[in-house]
């Protein structure tokens, strides 16, 4: 992992219009992503976790240009992608790829596996026509599938195999950055491990950078170097993996960690059970988004600016508890075993 | 014209002992356009109106001979220009208005300039036009019960026109005033039946006029029902939903008689013909027309298309209108001659246009007829390209004159020969579809118009017919019979040659 920043996301926002008045002006906004900034270094795997609807996929989709940001910058390798024209932006397709959550919906059921993988190569003119087939076979082998599967259709494959095909498609353009949007959540436990290992191997092999999106902290942990925790469109905490798991600072991160059941019947812990549900992202309240459920809520949370502050080196937190805190003063919570 | 007609009409078997129904239900094919004689031109209206209104004169039961009606008698001046009518006394309209000379004047005056409107289709036919200096010049009220009508020039057909159901009947002047001069929806006349109601698309109900001046109608109520489809009418009759129907197709007759129903059949005042476009390229020459006519076996065709319910035509007018008709010699079937003639004329294909709808003179519709003729011409090596249009479009297409042959027909209005023969002298191409224009013929027509009724006049029209036959302007096909069917319980039903159906004498047994 180098220190060179590959992706720099600055003050990214995405608002969806949920209601318009008669003249087509928005009367109600869904703030799916609200002022999010983070950086990913070359060769790094950056994990992004958070509960359903907190805006993880939306960030991923903005990075791969499926959504246009409402505001903010996406700087890739020094170029601000969000400022490019559609045509210029397309040139970057081969640098940034996406792996989807649902292995069943992300492959065109009418195309053979071979065609699916060949398509990005042909579209981006990466190989002369006669070499494409060889390349497809190569890619299939890369993801642990036999080259002879090339002429099969997606419905003939299991979820894990399809996810491999999706990975091969993403690899086909030799991208620098891959956005993995919950690539294993739809898979069975025994298959999950296969895919996670594969992603890990590929990262080494091709020197890839990952933005790895997931629901729970346990999956992210294995694969990422640094982890960001999101809640309702905002980043709550960013820290290197070890730091985050051992010393979660934001109460939300703490709750999230504690919610994961441990696989040891002798160690049934007292968990932090959050009250209530995630509030609606439509016209969310000002202040800290988490304050309605927070077990450490205090006065002023409702007006807290929710800006990430570096509490200790590389450990950024957005929480009223650490508003003034320098690195030393950070409250050290009881560590979860 | 004289008339000798074989009427198989319902014999008035006056069996007074039988219990009678008080309603007679009659089914016809369509709603009337309206019920004001000045505003309509269609047979469906006529059938209803003839029961509500009366004119100064009327036709006799089985011919187009005129008889007194609201006028007890009339006189014609020697120069044939002044008609004096002596009106019947003590007659009242259904609304109570007394019938008198003023009523007559009002009824006619509204159809003369400047009162006449575009929507009065028969006004100029019956009463002429002051602008064009034809027909009625003035209607004078001599006294309460005497009316004098002055014409611009002598016109023999005028007296027949006065008996027509279109335009001629006398309507209540009070009602006219109350309804803006249009009685289409609220007819008021002097006839044996009074109007009750009209449910569009369904029925018209009439009730007996108990104050009628003459013999009162025998059945209390009359209901006209409107059933478009022939087959539906047939079924309605067999299932007893209605007592009588008209417009039946020949092929259903056996079915109907089989079910015990009776058929009324009498020669109608129609001609069903195919016209050559004599100004077109193919049929400019008489020879070509003749050859084409020879190719068609008209009697066979008529027999199979219309069974016994149309008479093969040999001349334009039905026999009963002009005794001379029988002597007219028309071109007859001769396949060999046809083949030779057509080959000589170099005719291998012919553009035919026809209409799709059945017409009163052609119950099977123009298309079937055209197809039948197409079949005959195929035998002599001529291809006929048929184009069919519905009647609306057809009339516009005919106007354009873009055809070699076309199909058409005519239903007589008043039984006067001029009404038929004048067609071939009409300058309007949509009337004279053959585009025939012959000075000799024109002269004959003019002479006929002014000659007083009688044998001399009939002879003139026989000459007209022979001229048309010699020139092969039309291929005359058939005279349709007026076909109607009625339940055996009905007596006193008849269908007049002019297409009207007076019901005053009809009874229905229970």
């Amino acid at each position: 992992m180098s220190e060179e920043v590959l992706l720099d996301v600055q003050h990214l926002k995405k608002y969806f219009v949920v209601e318009k008045n008669f003249f087509g002006q928005p009367t109600s906004l869904l703030k799916a992503v609200d002022d999010v900034s983070f950086q990913i270094k070359k060769g790094e795997a950056f994990g992004l976790v958070g509960e359903s609807g907190c805006g993880k996929s939306t960030i991923g989709k903005m990075i791969v240009d499926l959504y246009t940001p409402t505001d903010g910058k996406i700087i890739f390798n020094g170029t601000d992608l969000s400022a490019l024209s559609k045509k210029d932006r397309r040139k970057y397709c081969k640098d940034i790829q996406l792996i989807f959550q649902d292995p069943y919906a992300s492959l065109n059921p009418r195309m053979t596996i071979g065609d699916i993988i060949a398509e990005p190569i042909l579209t981006n003119h990466l190989r002369p026509k006669n070499e494409v087939e060889k390349r497809v076979e190569e890619l299939l082998n890369c993801v642990g599938l036999s080259g002879s599967y090339r002429n099969r259709y997606p419905y003939e494959f299991s979820g894990g195999q399809r996810q491999r095909v999706g990975i091969a498609r993403a690899l086909a353009v030799e991208p620098k950055l891959i956005v993995c949007d919950e690539p294993v959540s739809a898979l069975d436990v025994s298959i999950q491990a296969q895919v996670l290992n594969l992603l890990d191997d590929l990262k080494e092999e091709f020197n890839l950078t990952y933005l790895f999106i997931a629901h729970g902290l346990n999956v992210v942990k294995h694969i990422s170097d640094r982890v960001g925790v999101m809640y309702l469109g905002k980043l709550m905490e960013i820290a290197p993996k070890g730091e985050l798991y051992h010393n979660p600072l934001n109460p939300y991160t703490q709750a999230l960690l504690s919610a994961i059941p441990s696989v040891d019947p002798n160690n049934r812990k007292k968990r932090i059970v959050l009250e209530g549900d995630v509030p609606s992202p439509i016209d969310p309240p000002a202040g800290c988004r988490f304050c309605s459920r927070c077990f450490k809520r205090m006065d002023g949370c409702e007006s807290f600016d929710s800006i990430l502050r570096e509490v200790s080196p590389n450990h950024h937190v957005a929480c009223k508890l650490y508003e003034q805190a320098g690195p030393g003063e950070a409250e050290h919570d009881k560590k979860e075993a | 014209g004289g008339s000798k007609r074989a009427s198989s009409g319902a014999s008035g078997s006056n069996s007074g002992t039988v219990a009678l129904k008080d309603t007679f239900t009659y089914a016809q094919g369509a709603d009337p356009r309206g019920l004001d004689p000045a505003y309509v031109d269609d047979g469906e209206s006529a059938k209803v109106m003839c029961n509500i209104y009366e004119g100064l004169l009327k036709y006799s039961k089985d011919s187009t001979q005129v008889q007194p009606c609201l006028a007890e008698k009339y006189e014609v001046s020697a120069d044939g220009m002044t008609y004096t009518f002596h009106l019947r006394k003590n007659v009242k309209f259904h609304d109570g208005t007394p019938f008198n000379a003023d009523a007559v004047k009002a009824s006619i005056d509204r159809q003369l300039e400047p009162n006449v409107s575009d929507e009065m289709p028969y006004a100029s036919f019956v009463f002429g036009s002051i602008k064009a200096k034809s027909g009625v010049k003035e209607v004078k009220v001599v006294d309460e019960n005497t009316v004098e009508i002055d014409l611009f020039s002598p016109e023999t057909p005028f007296i027949k026109n006065v008996a027509m159901v279109m335009a001629a009947p006398i309507a209540s002047p009070t009602a006219l005033k109350a309804n803006n001069g249009n009685l289409n929806e609220k007819p008021v006349g002097t006839g044996p039946y009074k109007f009750v109601s009209w449910d569009k698309g369904q029925n018209i109900k009439l009730v007996r006029n108990d104050d009628y001046w003459g013999e009162k109608a025998k059945t209390k109520n009359v209901v006209f029902r409107f059933i478009t489809e022939n087959s539906a009418r047939d079924i309605a009759l067999t299932s007893g939903e209605v007592d009588a129907i008209d417009g039946i197709s020949a092929s259903d007759v056996s079915q109907l008689t089989g079910a015990g129903d009776k058929i009324f059949s009498a020669d109608g005042m129609t001609i069903n013909y195919m016209a050559y476009n004599v100004t077109g390229t193919k049929f400019k020459d008489v020879a070509a027309r003749k050859a084409f006519s020879q190719a068609v076996n008209v009697p066979e065709l008529v027999k199979s298309l219309y069974k016994d319910y149309a008479t093969p035509a040999t001349s334009i007018m039905p026999f009963f209108m002009n005794a001379g008709s029988k002597d007219v010699k028309s071109t007859s079937f001769d396949k060999a001659a046809a083949k030779a003639g057509l080959a000589k004329a170099g005719i291998t294909s012919v553009n035919m246009i026809t209409y799709s709808n059945p017409r009163p003179y052609n119950t099977v519709g123009g298309q079937v007829l055209a197809e039948a003729i197409q079949g005959y011409l195929k035998d002599v090596g001529v291809t006929c390209n048929i184009k069919t249009y519905d009647w609306t479009t057809y009339k516009s297409v005919v106007q354009k004159g873009d055809y070699d042959v076309c199909f058409y027909g005519w239903t007589g209005d008043n039984g006067d020969p001029d009404n038929f023969m004048n067609l071939l002298d009409d300058p309007d191409p949509s009337m004279n579809v053959a585009h025939y224009n012959n000075p000799d013929y024109h002269a004959l027509i003019g002479k006929g118009l002014t000659t007083a009724a009688g044998a001399d006049r009939d002879k003139i029209y026989t000459q007209c017919e022979q001229k048309a036959a010699d020139d092969n302007v039309w291929l005359v096909i058939s005279h349709a019979k007026n076909l109607a069917a009625y339940s055996p319980k009905v007596s006193g039903y008849y269908y007049h040659v002019t297409g009207i159906t007076p019901f005053a004498g009809v009874t229905v047994a229970k």
């Binding site: - | 239900t25 089914a27 356009r33 029925n203 309007d428």
Partner: protein
């Protein structure tokens, strides 16, 4: 909801304007000249020209259209070329017949369609399923007019059971009222006339509704099968309630949501089917009349009828959408577009 309804009603305006324009163009630009028909056999070229002039048909087409719109807004559709009567009179006198027939048909089609569909779905792959599938297939495959004629042949021609034409025995015909004879006779307590009207209605209703019934049956069957596979049906069964209640209360209620759309759409197609049914059964309604008027180029009538039918159709769709809200609490109209 009110806001939504108002919005939807406002949106009718462009659609109806468009409908007017389409019909207007078809009729006035492309259709044959009405003059020869109106003026009859005796129409001379000159008379026809005069008639066209008098009826404004020689004016530029857009002027005619503006004229038409101006009058239509005030409810004045002009005068029928053919009968010279106000178009509104002509239409109103025939309208109830079609309405009565269409209502009976849609009720028949809905009731039996849903019934058959439910039976088929609940007893999937049994005799009952095959039987109702067969009926449905027959329904969508037989031309209405053919079916109508066969019915007449059977019930009137052979069995002499039912009257083949018309709405009621004319002598029993109720006067005044709504023009819906079933209603009129019932409210006036004239049961003989009511019975007679029912007899007249049976065959046309059957012929007209069979196609729609078939469509509704198929829709109900598939919608019910779909619903019966839903998780909440399993939940309901796990509660221990009776099978009947599961089907009626839980499955059908949900299945009705898509069925309602289909019924709404079918009402539209019934209005079209009425053209053929009315022709076969001499039913004095608007459908047959319109066809006649199209063929006679009676422009004012055709324009008005089509506009009215389109309005009804659009309104029915609106009603269907509102019924939706009742059936499906998930729908929130405030957030919907169109």
């Amino acid at each position: 909801m009110v806001k939504y309804t108002i919005k939807r009603i406002l949106m009718l305006i462009p659609v109806l304007l468009g409908v007017s324009l389409v019909v207007f163009l078809i009729m006035r630009v492309f259709s044959p000249d009405p003059a020869p028909v109106v003026l009859g056999e005796h129409a001379s070229t000159q008379a026809m020209q005069a008639w066209r002039e008098a009826h404004g048909l020689n004016e530029p087409i857009w002027l005619q259209f503006i004229d038409f719109l101006k009058n239509a807004v005030t409810g004045n559709f002009g005068v029928s070329y053919y009968t010279n009567q106000p178009v509104s009179n002509e239409i109103m006198s025939r309208f109830p017949a079609t309405v009565e027939l269409a209502i009976c048909a849609i009720i028949f089609a809905s009731v039996f369609g849903v019934l058959l569909g439910v039976v088929a779905a609940v007893h999937k792959n049994t005799f009952a399923d095959y039987a109702s599938t067969l009926v449905a297939l027959a329904g969508i495959s037989m031309p209405i007019f053919w079916l109508g004629i066969l019915l007449i042949l059977l019930f009137t021609g052979t069995l002499h059971l039912l009257p083949s034409t018309g709405r009621i025995d004319p002598m029993l015909q109720p006067t005044g009222g709504t023009g819906l004879y079933l209603w009129d006779t019932l409210t006036s307590g004239d049961f003989e006339a009511f019975g007679n009207a029912v007899q007249h209605l049976i065959m046309p209703t059957l012929a007209l509704s069979l196609y729609s019934m078939a469509i509704i049956t198929r829709m109900t069957r598939s919608s019910m099968l779909d619903t019966l596979n839903q998780d909440y049906i399993r939940t309901a069964r796990a509660k221990g309630i009776t099978r009947r209640r599961v089907i009626r209360h839980h499955a059908l209620r949900n299945a009705m949501i898509p069925i309602t759309t289909v019924i709404g759409l079918q009402f539209g197609s019934l209005l079209g089917g009425a053209v053929l049914t009315e022709t076969v059964f001499a039913w004095p309604g608007i459908g047959k009349y319109t066809v006649e008027c199209i063929q006679k180029s009676d422009f004012p009538v055709v324009q008005a009828v089509v506009l009215i039918i389109a309005t009804i159709y659009v309104i029915i769709n609106l009603i269907v959408d509102l019924i939706y809200a009742f059936l499906d609490p998930r729908i929130k109209y405030s957030k919907e577009e169109g």
